[in-house]
Symmetry: C2
Subunit: 318 residues, 2 copies
């Protein structure tokens, strides 16, 4: 019986899950609501439901489900999957224990942080495939990061590594919701891009974005950027320059083979990514960029569950 590996990605809105072959092929997918508003018990029930679906999906395909991995927001103790630190999108989630929750499943169960899972997916089968060191940056509403060294995730001494959005970017700068002053996330994540674009549009004499300033999305902004709208070009170029400097900094510090950009903001298009690349290579030292590649993530919204499935592929010897 051929093996497959189940992955579950717990998000604030949806629980995405799927089956992965040992060589990284997506075999099946499933998606249900997280129902955060119904409380922790409902979230746990839905996670179990997603797990049972994976069992069914495997059985129907006559595959042996060799393990289930779960990616969760917050600080997550690996491999047990114990949520030890803050997870603002799922109130009350701290203290949950994935291995205990799934104790009725007669297969190996592992839990890890969701950004780590995304990084692992891209590292093993995505944009970082074939490399041994990489930095995986997810830029959307917030910023997530995962670091791979010698082919292994760097989880940190208390499983809290990867918070690149909360490193200093502008000392003495914007006071952020975390209480920090000037962290990267406050300058380059989607809400910052939207704010900066609104300011640029208001200053500009005309802009195709003037009409929908109240419902502006990164997609609108990138579309206007691509079409050459001056206000959008200004704000998106500045955003790319800032992300480039942040990536150049990581490159000077960690000198990875690859930096992979994922999340909603990675869909800004080739011209946007090229501006990021240029700024990163300009800020970083030549000695650290000689073999560097800066790439866009491959798996998009599937990265979370794929990486969660990878947790058991890594542990499964045969």
């Amino acid at each position: 019986m051929r093996k497959c590996y189940g992955g579950i990605d717990l998000g604030g809105t949806f629980i995405k899950a799927g089956l992965l072959s040992r060589d990284g092929r997506r075999i099946a997918r499933s998606k249900i609501s997280t129902e955060v508003d119904s409380g922790v018990a409902a979230v746990e029930a839905n996670l179990l439901k997603a797990g049972r679906r994976l069992c069914d999906l495997a059985a129907r395909r006559k595959l042996k489900l060799a393990g289930i991995g779960i990616g969760s927001p917050g600080t997550v103790k690996y491999p047990e999957g114990i949520i030890t630190g803050s997870s603002p999108n799922i109130p009350g989630w701290v203290g949950s224990n994935m291995r205990n929750l799934f104790s009725g499943f007669p297969i190996p169960v592992s839990g890890d942080n969701d950004a780590n899972c995304m990084g692992l997916a891209e590292s093993m089968f995505g944009a970082g495939k074939g490399t041994k060191s990489g930095f995986y940056l997810t830029i959307g509403t917030g910023i997530g990061g995962a670091l791979v060294v010698n082919g292994s995730l760097v989880r940190g001494a208390s499983f809290a590594a990867g918070e690149y959005g909360h490193t200093i970017f502008k000392y003495g700068g914007i006071k952020y919701k975390t209480g920090q002053r000037g962290p990267l996330e406050a300058y380059v994540a989607a809400p910052a891009l939207i704010k900066q674009t609104k300011e640029a549009v208001r200053k500009a004499k005309k802009s195709i974005l003037t009409g929908n300033l109240n419902s502006l999305t990164p997609e609108d902004i990138f579309e206007a950027f691509t079409s050459g709208d001056r206000a959008a070009v200004e704000s998106v170029s500045r955003n790319a320059e800032m992300i480039g400097v942040a990536i150049g900094s990581i490159v000077n510090l960690l000198n990875p083979e690859v930096v992979v950009i994922g999340g909603g903001m990675s869909k800004g298009g080739a011209k946007y990514i090229e501006l990021i690349r240029k700024a990163a290579k300009s800020f970083a030292f030549d000695s650290a960029t000689s073999i560097l590649k800066i790439k866009v993530a491959r798996f998009g919204n599937d990265a979370g569950w794929i990486g969660a499935a990878c947790l058991n592929i890594l542990k499964d010897g045969d």
Copy 2:
């Protein structure tokens, strides 16, 4: 015959060398001038002289010299010790090859970056002893960094990792000699502290430092800080706050067990270090600081050669 391990630390002014026991005891030391002004051939001749001295020192003690390690500034390809990237303090140094240079020595020879050696010394036998993950920060005229994960140095894909002084600290800030705008080094290294203190002294009505503004050293400044001089308290407190934010950022990103501060600026005294600790813990997330220790380096000026000696201890099985 008992074994010992030789280490050589190539600096812009002195070549420091010494013998280390397998368990990290300093057995002997030696120090000669680098003679950078006499050119690369003179530097190489002096390195060899330092190497021969180590052989003599070991022979006199009836010890078997089991290897020599060399720490060099610049980007250094490990283990060969090939200088592949910039080393501003030793003009013409790029291209040198430590293993070739020492090919007449019938023992293993390895070369690595000097900041990596300092980190390794502190990690194996110094302030980071007993930990498996640490960030080693050297703050003096410049800033050096070394990262240990799972007990091993992270050297980077092209041996350029660790340049924390050249990561972004204040976006859009000071234009630095590297061409970068706003890198950490421009704000917190010794020359920046001296500049900021001069400004504070000039603004202050009186200061014990007023008389020697033209020859101000970090030692003078820390002494004035300890004695409560208002201008020094202002500039040193601000420096500690900035270093703390930079350390807090590293902690959010890498979540190490220990951060070790070395270099001239680490001698600022207990009060100064406590201010750094406070600022770092305030900036970083609780999940990343729960088991964190921030310590002062143990080996001071010996760290370079000790770490270079460690390179061969790590490779020597028996």
